[in-house]
Protein backbone atom coordinates (compact mmCIF):
# COMPACT_ATOMS: atom_id res chain seq x y z
CA UNK A 1 0.00 0.00 0.00
CA UNK A 2 2.66 2.42 1.10
CA UNK A 3 4.91 1.34 -1.71
CA UNK A 4 2.10 1.71 -4.26
CA UNK A 5 1.34 5.18 -2.95
CA UNK A 6 4.88 6.45 -3.32
CA UNK A 7 5.10 4.80 -6.74
CA UNK A 8 1.92 6.65 -7.72
CA UNK A 9 3.48 9.93 -6.57
CA UNK A 10 6.59 9.33 -8.65
CA UNK A 11 4.78 8.27 -11.84
CA UNK A 12 1.54 10.24 -11.58
CA UNK A 13 2.48 13.67 -12.87
CA UNK A 14 4.86 12.54 -15.65
CA UNK A 15 2.14 10.18 -16.91
CA UNK A 16 -0.40 12.99 -16.85
CA UNK A 17 1.96 15.29 -18.77
CA UNK A 18 2.68 12.69 -21.45
CA UNK A 19 -1.07 12.10 -21.80
CA UNK A 20 -1.70 15.81 -22.28
CA UNK A 21 1.14 15.98 -24.80
CA UNK A 22 -0.25 12.94 -26.61
CA UNK A 23 -3.79 14.34 -26.63
CA UNK A 24 -2.76 17.76 -27.91
CA UNK A 25 -0.65 16.37 -30.77
CA UNK A 26 -3.26 13.79 -31.80
CA UNK A 27 -5.62 15.92 -33.86
CA UNK A 28 -3.45 17.91 -36.22
CA UNK A 29 0.26 17.20 -36.44
CA UNK A 30 2.30 20.15 -35.23
CA UNK A 31 5.52 20.83 -37.13
CA UNK A 32 7.50 21.93 -34.07
CA UNK A 33 6.20 19.47 -31.50
CA UNK A 34 6.08 15.88 -32.78
CA UNK A 35 3.73 13.32 -31.25
CA UNK A 36 5.19 11.00 -28.58
CA UNK A 37 4.89 7.85 -30.72
CA UNK A 38 6.76 9.41 -33.65
CA UNK A 39 9.40 10.75 -31.28
CA UNK A 40 9.95 7.33 -29.70
CA UNK A 41 10.35 5.78 -33.16
CA UNK A 42 12.86 8.39 -34.28
CA UNK A 43 14.72 8.13 -31.00
CA UNK A 44 15.32 4.44 -31.54
CA UNK A 45 16.30 4.89 -35.18
CA UNK A 46 18.66 7.78 -34.61
CA UNK A 47 20.48 6.89 -31.43
CA UNK A 48 20.63 3.09 -31.26
CA UNK A 49 23.20 2.47 -33.92
CA UNK A 50 26.63 3.67 -34.84
CA UNK A 51 25.83 7.20 -33.69
CA UNK A 52 26.24 6.05 -30.11
CA UNK A 53 29.87 5.21 -30.90
CA UNK A 54 30.67 8.09 -33.25
CA UNK A 55 28.89 10.92 -31.41
CA UNK A 56 27.67 10.09 -27.91
CA UNK A 57 30.70 8.23 -26.58
CA UNK A 58 33.36 10.79 -27.62
CA UNK A 59 31.24 13.59 -26.13
CA UNK A 60 30.81 11.71 -22.87
CA UNK A 61 34.50 10.88 -22.82
CA UNK A 62 35.49 14.54 -23.16
CA UNK A 63 32.97 15.54 -20.51
CA UNK A 64 34.23 12.98 -17.99
CA UNK A 65 37.91 13.74 -18.66
CA UNK A 66 37.26 17.46 -18.27
CA UNK A 67 35.16 17.18 -15.13
CA UNK A 68 37.51 14.74 -13.38
CA UNK A 69 40.55 16.84 -14.25
CA UNK A 70 38.76 19.99 -13.04
CA UNK A 71 37.85 18.32 -9.73
CA UNK A 72 41.39 17.03 -9.27
CA UNK A 73 43.09 20.34 -10.04
CA UNK A 74 40.43 22.36 -8.19
CA UNK A 75 40.62 20.37 -4.96
CA UNK A 76 44.45 20.21 -4.83
CA UNK A 77 45.02 23.90 -5.58
CA UNK A 78 42.07 24.78 -3.34
CA UNK A 79 43.67 22.91 -0.42
CA UNK A 80 46.94 24.72 -1.05
CA UNK A 81 45.43 28.20 -1.43
CA UNK A 82 42.99 27.65 1.41
CA UNK A 83 45.66 26.69 3.93
CA UNK A 84 48.19 29.41 3.09
CA UNK A 85 46.83 32.69 4.33
CA UNK A 86 48.90 35.17 2.31
CA UNK A 87 48.43 33.16 -0.87
CA UNK A 88 44.69 33.31 -0.39
CA UNK A 89 44.73 37.06 0.14
CA UNK A 90 46.96 37.45 -2.90
CA UNK A 91 44.89 35.37 -5.31
CA UNK A 92 41.31 35.78 -4.16
CA UNK A 93 40.28 38.88 -6.18
CA UNK A 94 41.87 37.49 -9.35
CA UNK A 95 40.08 34.16 -8.89
CA UNK A 96 36.78 35.92 -8.23
CA UNK A 97 37.19 37.70 -11.54
CA UNK A 98 37.81 34.45 -13.38
CA UNK A 99 34.75 32.94 -11.79
CA UNK A 100 32.67 35.88 -12.97
CA UNK A 101 33.69 35.44 -16.61
CA UNK A 102 30.86 33.48 -18.27
CA UNK A 103 32.56 30.18 -19.24
CA UNK A 104 31.14 30.00 -22.80
CA UNK A 105 33.18 33.04 -23.89
CA UNK A 106 36.26 30.90 -23.37
CA UNK A 107 35.25 28.73 -26.33
CA UNK A 108 36.32 31.26 -29.00
CA UNK A 109 39.42 32.19 -26.99
CA UNK A 110 40.64 28.62 -26.59
CA UNK A 111 39.67 27.84 -30.16
CA UNK A 112 42.08 30.53 -31.20
CA UNK A 113 44.86 29.37 -28.88
CA UNK A 114 44.58 25.63 -29.45
CA UNK A 115 42.74 25.17 -32.73
CA UNK A 116 39.68 22.96 -33.12
CA UNK A 117 40.83 19.79 -31.43
CA UNK A 118 39.60 17.34 -28.87
CA UNK A 119 42.00 18.67 -26.28
CA UNK A 120 40.61 22.17 -26.87
CA UNK A 121 37.16 20.91 -25.88
CA UNK A 122 38.51 19.20 -22.79
CA UNK A 123 40.38 22.37 -21.80
CA UNK A 124 37.19 24.41 -22.32
CA UNK A 125 35.36 22.08 -19.94
CA UNK A 126 38.18 22.20 -17.38
CA UNK A 127 38.50 25.97 -17.53
CA UNK A 128 34.79 26.43 -16.86
CA UNK A 129 34.34 23.69 -14.27
CA UNK A 130 37.34 24.44 -12.13
CA UNK A 131 36.08 27.67 -10.51
CA UNK A 132 33.17 26.38 -8.43
CA UNK A 133 35.32 23.47 -7.18
CA UNK A 134 38.35 25.64 -6.48
CA UNK A 135 36.53 28.48 -4.72
CA UNK A 136 34.31 26.17 -2.69
CA UNK A 137 37.34 24.15 -1.59
CA UNK A 138 39.08 27.35 -0.47
CA UNK A 139 35.94 28.35 1.48
CA UNK A 140 35.68 24.88 2.97
CA UNK A 141 39.30 24.76 4.07
CA UNK A 142 38.90 28.19 5.60
CA UNK A 143 35.81 27.13 7.57
CA UNK A 144 37.54 24.24 9.39
CA UNK A 145 36.32 24.29 12.96
CA UNK A 146 38.81 26.20 15.13
CA UNK A 147 38.46 23.88 18.11
CA UNK A 148 39.05 20.76 16.01
CA UNK A 149 42.01 22.43 14.34
CA UNK A 150 43.51 23.33 17.73
CA UNK A 151 42.99 19.86 19.17
CA UNK A 152 44.56 18.16 16.18
CA UNK A 153 47.54 20.47 16.58
CA UNK A 154 47.82 19.49 20.25
CA UNK A 155 47.84 15.83 19.29
CA UNK A 156 50.67 16.55 16.89
CA UNK A 157 48.66 15.71 13.80
CA UNK A 158 50.29 17.56 10.94
CA UNK A 159 51.16 17.35 7.28
CA UNK A 160 49.38 14.78 5.16
CA UNK A 161 47.49 13.21 8.11
CA UNK A 162 46.06 16.61 8.99
CA UNK A 163 44.78 17.08 5.45
CA UNK A 164 43.45 13.53 5.22
CA UNK A 165 41.67 13.38 8.58
CA UNK A 166 40.80 16.98 9.40
CA UNK A 167 40.81 19.36 6.43
CA UNK A 168 39.37 17.18 3.67
CA UNK A 169 36.46 15.77 5.67
CA UNK A 170 35.41 19.09 7.09
CA UNK A 171 35.66 20.80 3.72
CA UNK A 172 33.85 17.99 1.91
CA UNK A 173 30.28 19.35 2.17
CA UNK A 174 31.42 22.55 0.45
CA UNK A 175 33.55 20.66 -2.05
CA UNK A 176 30.54 18.55 -2.97
CA UNK A 177 28.41 21.67 -3.43
CA UNK A 178 31.08 22.95 -5.82
CA UNK A 179 31.19 19.66 -7.72
CA UNK A 180 27.42 19.75 -8.15
CA UNK A 181 27.66 23.15 -9.85
CA UNK A 182 30.64 22.01 -11.87
CA UNK A 183 28.73 19.06 -13.37
CA UNK A 184 26.01 21.18 -14.93
CA UNK A 185 28.54 23.73 -16.21
CA UNK A 186 30.55 20.86 -17.71
CA UNK A 187 27.56 19.54 -19.60
CA UNK A 188 26.74 23.02 -20.91
CA UNK A 189 30.32 23.54 -22.07
CA UNK A 190 30.49 20.14 -23.71
CA UNK A 191 27.46 20.99 -25.83
CA UNK A 192 28.59 24.54 -26.59
CA UNK A 193 32.12 23.61 -27.60
CA UNK A 194 30.63 21.13 -30.06
CA UNK A 195 27.96 23.49 -31.35
CA UNK A 196 30.52 26.20 -31.92
CA UNK A 197 33.28 24.30 -33.58
CA UNK A 198 33.20 20.65 -34.35
CA UNK A 199 32.33 18.04 -36.91
CA UNK A 200 31.16 15.37 -34.53
CA UNK A 201 29.62 15.00 -31.13
CA UNK A 202 26.19 15.44 -29.62
CA UNK A 203 26.02 19.23 -29.80
CA UNK A 204 27.12 19.23 -33.44
CA UNK A 205 24.59 16.55 -34.41
CA UNK A 206 21.68 18.33 -32.76
CA UNK A 207 22.50 21.61 -34.50
CA UNK A 208 22.86 19.70 -37.76
CA UNK A 209 19.36 18.25 -37.35
CA UNK A 210 17.96 21.66 -36.53
CA UNK A 211 19.55 23.27 -39.59
CA UNK A 212 18.11 20.59 -41.86
CA UNK A 213 14.70 20.93 -40.18
CA UNK A 214 14.71 17.30 -39.05
CA UNK A 215 12.49 18.21 -36.12
CA UNK A 216 11.76 14.80 -34.53
CA UNK A 217 15.47 13.95 -34.80
CA UNK A 218 16.36 17.26 -33.15
CA UNK A 219 13.95 16.54 -30.29
CA UNK A 220 15.41 13.07 -29.84
CA UNK A 221 18.83 14.72 -29.48
CA UNK A 222 17.45 17.10 -26.86
CA UNK A 223 16.11 14.05 -25.03
CA UNK A 224 19.53 12.37 -25.11
CA UNK A 225 21.05 15.49 -23.53
CA UNK A 226 18.30 15.48 -20.92
CA UNK A 227 18.92 11.82 -20.11
CA UNK A 228 22.66 12.48 -19.73
CA UNK A 229 21.89 15.37 -17.38
CA UNK A 230 19.50 13.25 -15.31
CA UNK A 231 21.96 10.34 -15.18
CA UNK A 232 24.78 12.65 -14.06
CA UNK A 233 22.65 14.13 -11.32
CA UNK A 234 21.64 10.67 -10.03
CA UNK A 235 25.22 9.46 -10.01
CA UNK A 236 26.19 12.61 -8.17
CA UNK A 237 23.43 12.26 -5.57
CA UNK A 238 24.42 8.64 -4.95
CA UNK A 239 28.08 9.55 -4.51
CA UNK A 240 27.26 12.53 -2.35
CA UNK A 241 25.19 10.38 0.00
CA UNK A 242 28.16 8.00 0.36
CA UNK A 243 30.78 10.68 0.82
CA UNK A 244 28.76 12.84 3.16
CA UNK A 245 27.05 10.09 5.14
CA UNK A 246 28.75 11.16 8.38
CA UNK A 247 27.73 14.77 7.72
CA UNK A 248 24.03 14.02 7.24
CA UNK A 249 24.08 11.78 10.31
CA UNK A 250 25.63 14.57 12.35
CA UNK A 251 23.04 17.06 11.07
CA UNK A 252 20.21 14.73 12.04
CA UNK A 253 21.58 14.44 15.56
CA UNK A 254 21.95 18.22 15.78
CA UNK A 255 18.42 18.83 14.52
CA UNK A 256 16.98 16.27 16.90
CA UNK A 257 18.81 17.85 19.85
Amino acid sequence: MNWAKSFGYVVGLPLLLVLIWWATTMGRPNFFFPAPALLMDTFGDVWFGERIITDVMPSLGRLLTGVIAAIGIGVTTGLLIGSVKWLRALLEPTLEFFRAVPPPVLVPVLMLLMGITDSMKVVVIISGCIWPVLLNTIEGVRAVDGVLSDSSRTYGIAGWARIRYLVLPSASPQIMAGIRQCLSIGLILMVISEMFASSSGLGFTIVQFQRSFAIPEMWSGIIVLGLIGVALSFIFQWTERRVLRWYHGQKEVENAG
Binding site: A100, V109, R142, P173, M195, I222, L244
Partner: protein, 286 residues
Protein backbone atom coordinates in the same frame (compact mmCIF):
# COMPACT_ATOMS: atom_id res chain seq x y z
CA UNK B 1 16.63 16.99 5.38
CA UNK B 2 17.58 17.89 1.88
CA UNK B 3 18.04 21.56 2.64
CA UNK B 4 21.20 20.84 4.52
CA UNK B 5 23.04 19.91 1.38
CA UNK B 6 22.25 23.30 0.04
CA UNK B 7 23.63 25.26 2.97
CA UNK B 8 27.27 25.00 1.94
CA UNK B 9 26.27 26.75 -1.24
CA UNK B 10 25.28 29.73 0.87
CA UNK B 11 29.01 30.15 1.06
CA UNK B 12 30.10 33.21 2.94
CA UNK B 13 27.00 33.54 5.04
CA UNK B 14 26.95 30.07 6.53
CA UNK B 15 30.64 30.30 7.22
CA UNK B 16 30.42 33.57 9.07
CA UNK B 17 27.54 32.27 11.06
CA UNK B 18 29.36 29.06 11.89
CA UNK B 19 32.63 30.59 12.94
CA UNK B 20 30.90 33.15 15.10
CA UNK B 21 28.88 30.49 16.81
CA UNK B 22 31.89 28.31 17.52
CA UNK B 23 34.71 30.69 18.27
CA UNK B 24 33.64 34.19 19.22
CA UNK B 25 36.71 34.29 21.50
CA UNK B 26 39.26 34.91 18.72
CA UNK B 27 39.31 38.61 17.90
CA UNK B 28 39.83 39.32 14.22
CA UNK B 29 43.37 40.39 13.74
CA UNK B 30 43.64 43.61 11.82
CA UNK B 31 46.04 42.86 9.01
CA UNK B 32 46.46 45.83 6.70
CA UNK B 33 48.69 43.78 4.43
CA UNK B 34 45.66 41.68 3.53
CA UNK B 35 44.02 44.61 1.80
CA UNK B 36 47.10 45.29 -0.29
CA UNK B 37 47.70 41.67 -1.31
CA UNK B 38 44.54 41.40 -3.43
CA UNK B 39 45.39 44.26 -5.82
CA UNK B 40 48.99 43.00 -5.88
CA UNK B 41 47.66 39.66 -7.07
CA UNK B 42 45.70 41.31 -9.87
CA UNK B 43 48.75 43.32 -10.90
CA UNK B 44 50.87 40.19 -10.84
CA UNK B 45 48.37 38.44 -13.06
CA UNK B 46 48.32 41.31 -15.56
CA UNK B 47 52.13 41.41 -15.54
CA UNK B 48 52.37 37.68 -16.26
CA UNK B 49 49.85 38.09 -19.05
CA UNK B 50 51.89 41.01 -20.45
CA UNK B 51 55.11 39.00 -20.34
CA UNK B 52 53.90 35.72 -21.86
CA UNK B 53 53.45 37.10 -25.42
CA UNK B 54 56.31 39.60 -25.05
CA UNK B 55 58.79 36.86 -24.20
CA UNK B 56 57.30 34.71 -26.93
CA UNK B 57 55.89 31.73 -25.03
CA UNK B 58 52.66 32.26 -26.94
CA UNK B 59 52.53 34.23 -30.17
CA UNK B 60 51.08 37.72 -29.75
CA UNK B 61 48.87 36.93 -32.71
CA UNK B 62 46.94 34.50 -30.51
CA UNK B 63 47.36 36.12 -27.11
CA UNK B 64 47.97 39.87 -27.29
CA UNK B 65 49.73 41.41 -24.28
CA UNK B 66 47.52 42.76 -21.49
CA UNK B 67 48.29 46.38 -22.35
CA UNK B 68 46.98 45.94 -25.90
CA UNK B 69 43.78 44.35 -24.64
CA UNK B 70 43.18 47.03 -22.03
CA UNK B 71 43.79 49.69 -24.64
CA UNK B 72 41.24 47.96 -26.89
CA UNK B 73 38.77 47.87 -24.01
CA UNK B 74 39.27 51.60 -23.41
CA UNK B 75 38.77 52.24 -27.10
CA UNK B 76 35.54 50.21 -27.00
CA UNK B 77 34.27 52.16 -24.01
CA UNK B 78 34.26 55.26 -26.20
CA UNK B 79 32.03 53.64 -28.80
CA UNK B 80 28.24 53.80 -28.72
CA UNK B 81 27.96 50.41 -30.44
CA UNK B 82 29.75 48.78 -27.51
CA UNK B 83 27.37 50.25 -24.96
CA UNK B 84 24.41 49.30 -27.12
CA UNK B 85 25.44 45.65 -27.05
CA UNK B 86 26.15 45.87 -23.31
CA UNK B 87 22.66 47.24 -22.93
CA UNK B 88 21.17 44.44 -25.04
CA UNK B 89 22.93 41.80 -22.96
CA UNK B 90 21.84 43.41 -19.70
CA UNK B 91 18.26 43.80 -20.92
CA UNK B 92 18.03 40.10 -21.79
CA UNK B 93 19.66 39.28 -18.44
CA UNK B 94 17.28 41.42 -16.46
CA UNK B 95 14.05 40.45 -18.22
CA UNK B 96 14.95 36.76 -18.12
CA UNK B 97 15.88 36.89 -14.45
CA UNK B 98 12.74 38.82 -13.58
CA UNK B 99 10.45 36.39 -15.37
CA UNK B 100 12.20 33.37 -13.84
CA UNK B 101 12.09 34.83 -10.32
CA UNK B 102 8.40 35.73 -10.51
CA UNK B 103 7.44 32.31 -11.90
CA UNK B 104 9.61 30.55 -9.32
CA UNK B 105 8.17 32.54 -6.40
CA UNK B 106 4.55 31.92 -7.41
CA UNK B 107 5.03 28.23 -8.16
CA UNK B 108 7.45 27.69 -5.28
CA UNK B 109 5.13 29.06 -2.61
CA UNK B 110 2.13 27.30 -4.14
CA UNK B 111 3.77 23.89 -4.46
CA UNK B 112 5.90 24.24 -1.34
CA UNK B 113 3.00 24.88 1.00
CA UNK B 114 1.13 21.73 0.04
CA UNK B 115 2.62 18.34 0.95
CA UNK B 116 0.57 16.64 -1.75
CA UNK B 117 1.77 18.92 -4.53
CA UNK B 118 5.36 18.70 -3.32
CA UNK B 119 5.50 14.89 -3.42
CA UNK B 120 3.53 14.71 -6.66
CA UNK B 121 5.79 17.14 -8.53
CA UNK B 122 9.06 15.88 -7.06
CA UNK B 123 9.90 13.29 -9.74
CA UNK B 124 9.06 15.68 -12.59
CA UNK B 125 11.16 18.47 -11.08
CA UNK B 126 14.08 16.13 -10.50
CA UNK B 127 13.83 15.03 -14.12
CA UNK B 128 13.49 18.47 -15.72
CA UNK B 129 16.03 20.31 -13.57
CA UNK B 130 19.23 18.63 -14.77
CA UNK B 131 18.30 19.04 -18.46
CA UNK B 132 20.94 21.47 -19.69
CA UNK B 133 19.33 24.65 -20.96
CA UNK B 134 21.66 24.71 -23.97
CA UNK B 135 19.78 21.66 -25.20
CA UNK B 136 16.96 24.10 -25.92
CA UNK B 137 19.13 26.21 -28.25
CA UNK B 138 17.96 24.47 -31.45
CA UNK B 139 14.33 24.80 -30.39
CA UNK B 140 14.78 28.47 -29.51
CA UNK B 141 16.31 29.13 -32.92
CA UNK B 142 13.41 27.43 -34.67
CA UNK B 143 10.76 29.20 -32.65
CA UNK B 144 12.18 32.70 -32.36
CA UNK B 145 15.19 32.98 -34.62
CA UNK B 146 17.98 35.43 -33.76
CA UNK B 147 15.94 37.65 -31.49
CA UNK B 148 15.95 38.46 -27.80
CA UNK B 149 13.14 35.92 -27.24
CA UNK B 150 15.59 33.10 -27.91
CA UNK B 151 17.90 34.36 -25.18
CA UNK B 152 14.96 34.87 -22.84
CA UNK B 153 13.74 31.31 -23.29
CA UNK B 154 17.13 29.88 -22.30
CA UNK B 155 17.67 32.34 -19.45
CA UNK B 156 14.24 31.76 -17.93
CA UNK B 157 14.56 27.99 -18.13
CA UNK B 158 18.01 27.92 -16.55
CA UNK B 159 17.48 30.44 -13.75
CA UNK B 160 13.97 29.28 -12.84
CA UNK B 161 15.23 26.06 -11.21
CA UNK B 162 17.83 27.86 -9.08
CA UNK B 163 15.19 30.03 -7.45
CA UNK B 164 12.40 27.44 -7.43
CA UNK B 165 14.40 24.80 -5.53
CA UNK B 166 15.59 27.36 -2.99
CA UNK B 167 12.01 28.57 -2.40
CA UNK B 168 10.89 24.96 -1.88
CA UNK B 169 13.64 24.44 0.71
CA UNK B 170 12.77 27.74 2.32
CA UNK B 171 9.08 26.97 2.64
CA UNK B 172 9.92 23.54 4.04
CA UNK B 173 12.22 25.12 6.62
CA UNK B 174 9.34 26.88 8.38
CA UNK B 175 9.25 26.55 12.17
CA UNK B 176 6.14 24.55 13.11
CA UNK B 177 5.94 26.17 16.56
CA UNK B 178 5.87 29.63 15.00
CA UNK B 179 3.31 28.50 12.47
CA UNK B 180 1.05 26.95 15.12
CA UNK B 181 1.42 30.02 17.32
CA UNK B 182 0.34 32.21 14.41
CA UNK B 183 -2.58 29.88 13.81
CA UNK B 184 -3.71 30.00 17.43
CA UNK B 185 -3.54 33.80 17.36
CA UNK B 186 -6.06 33.59 14.53
CA UNK B 187 -3.84 34.57 11.60
CA UNK B 188 -5.45 33.47 8.34
CA UNK B 189 -3.58 31.65 5.54
CA UNK B 190 -2.64 34.89 3.74
CA UNK B 191 -1.40 36.54 6.92
CA UNK B 192 0.60 33.44 7.82
CA UNK B 193 2.26 33.45 4.41
CA UNK B 194 3.08 37.15 4.86
CA UNK B 195 4.38 37.02 8.45
CA UNK B 196 5.64 33.45 8.94
CA UNK B 197 6.36 31.67 5.67
CA UNK B 198 7.77 34.58 3.67
CA UNK B 199 10.36 35.73 6.25
CA UNK B 200 11.52 32.12 6.69
CA UNK B 201 11.90 31.59 2.98
CA UNK B 202 13.44 34.99 2.18
CA UNK B 203 17.10 34.09 2.89
CA UNK B 204 16.74 30.96 0.74
CA UNK B 205 15.03 33.02 -1.94
CA UNK B 206 17.82 35.60 -1.98
CA UNK B 207 20.47 32.88 -2.29
CA UNK B 208 18.49 31.47 -5.20
CA UNK B 209 18.25 34.87 -6.87
CA UNK B 210 21.98 35.45 -6.46
CA UNK B 211 22.82 32.09 -8.04
CA UNK B 212 20.24 32.67 -10.76
CA UNK B 213 21.71 36.08 -11.59
CA UNK B 214 25.07 34.49 -12.40
CA UNK B 215 23.45 31.68 -14.39
CA UNK B 216 21.29 34.16 -16.30
CA UNK B 217 24.38 36.11 -17.39
CA UNK B 218 26.08 32.91 -18.58
CA UNK B 219 23.03 31.95 -20.61
CA UNK B 220 22.56 35.45 -22.01
CA UNK B 221 26.12 35.47 -23.33
CA UNK B 222 25.83 31.88 -24.54
CA UNK B 223 22.67 32.56 -26.51
CA UNK B 224 24.30 35.58 -28.13
CA UNK B 225 27.46 33.62 -28.89
CA UNK B 226 25.82 30.54 -30.36
CA UNK B 227 22.49 31.75 -31.72
CA UNK B 228 23.62 35.24 -32.61
CA UNK B 229 20.93 37.19 -30.81
CA UNK B 230 22.09 40.79 -30.29
CA UNK B 231 24.52 41.55 -27.44
CA UNK B 232 28.11 41.19 -26.22
CA UNK B 233 28.27 37.46 -27.00
CA UNK B 234 27.59 38.07 -30.66
CA UNK B 235 30.24 40.80 -30.73
CA UNK B 236 32.75 38.29 -29.35
CA UNK B 237 31.91 35.77 -32.06
CA UNK B 238 32.14 38.52 -34.70
CA UNK B 239 35.45 39.82 -33.39
CA UNK B 240 36.89 36.33 -33.40
CA UNK B 241 35.82 35.45 -36.90
CA UNK B 242 36.81 38.93 -38.09
CA UNK B 243 40.34 38.49 -36.76
CA UNK B 244 40.15 41.37 -34.29
CA UNK B 245 41.94 39.39 -31.63
CA UNK B 246 42.72 42.14 -29.11
CA UNK B 247 39.12 43.26 -29.51
CA UNK B 248 37.86 39.78 -28.73
CA UNK B 249 39.95 39.59 -25.55
CA UNK B 250 38.74 43.05 -24.58
CA UNK B 251 35.11 41.94 -24.95
CA UNK B 252 35.80 38.81 -22.89
CA UNK B 253 37.32 41.06 -20.24
CA UNK B 254 34.18 43.20 -20.38
CA UNK B 255 31.91 40.21 -19.77
CA UNK B 256 34.03 39.29 -16.76
CA UNK B 257 33.73 42.82 -15.38
CA UNK B 258 29.96 42.72 -15.88
CA UNK B 259 29.91 39.41 -14.03
CA UNK B 260 31.84 40.91 -11.11
CA UNK B 261 29.51 43.92 -11.00
CA UNK B 262 26.41 41.71 -11.04
CA UNK B 263 27.83 39.61 -8.19
CA UNK B 264 28.54 42.73 -6.15
CA UNK B 265 25.09 44.14 -6.85
CA UNK B 266 23.42 40.90 -5.82
CA UNK B 267 25.43 40.69 -2.58
CA UNK B 268 24.43 44.26 -1.83
CA UNK B 269 20.72 43.62 -2.46
CA UNK B 270 20.90 40.46 -0.38
CA UNK B 271 22.47 42.35 2.48
CA UNK B 272 19.86 45.10 2.31
CA UNK B 273 16.81 42.84 2.17
CA UNK B 274 18.12 40.55 4.88
CA UNK B 275 19.38 43.29 7.19
CA UNK B 276 17.05 41.95 9.93
CA UNK B 277 18.35 38.39 9.61
CA UNK B 278 20.86 36.98 12.08
CA UNK B 279 23.27 35.99 9.33
CA UNK B 280 23.70 39.66 8.41
CA UNK B 281 23.32 41.41 11.77
CA UNK B 282 26.91 40.90 12.81
CA UNK B 283 26.55 42.25 16.34
CA UNK B 284 24.26 39.43 17.38
CA UNK B 285 26.04 36.35 18.67
CA UNK B 286 23.82 33.44 17.78
Amino acid sequence: MNGNIETPALGLKSREQGSRAISPRIPRRAWPLQRILGPVGILGFLLTWELIPRVGIVEARFLPPASDVIAALLRYSGLTAFWVSVGETLLAWFLGLLMAVIAAIVLGFLIGSSTFLRTATNSTVEFLRPIPSVALIPLAVLLFGVKIESSLMLIVYASFWQVFIQVLYGVADIDMVANNTAKSYGLGPMARIRYVVFPTALPYLMTGVRLAAAVALILAITAELIIGSPGLGREIALAQSGGSIAGMYALVLATGLIGVLINMLMRFIEKKTLSWHSSVRSEVIV
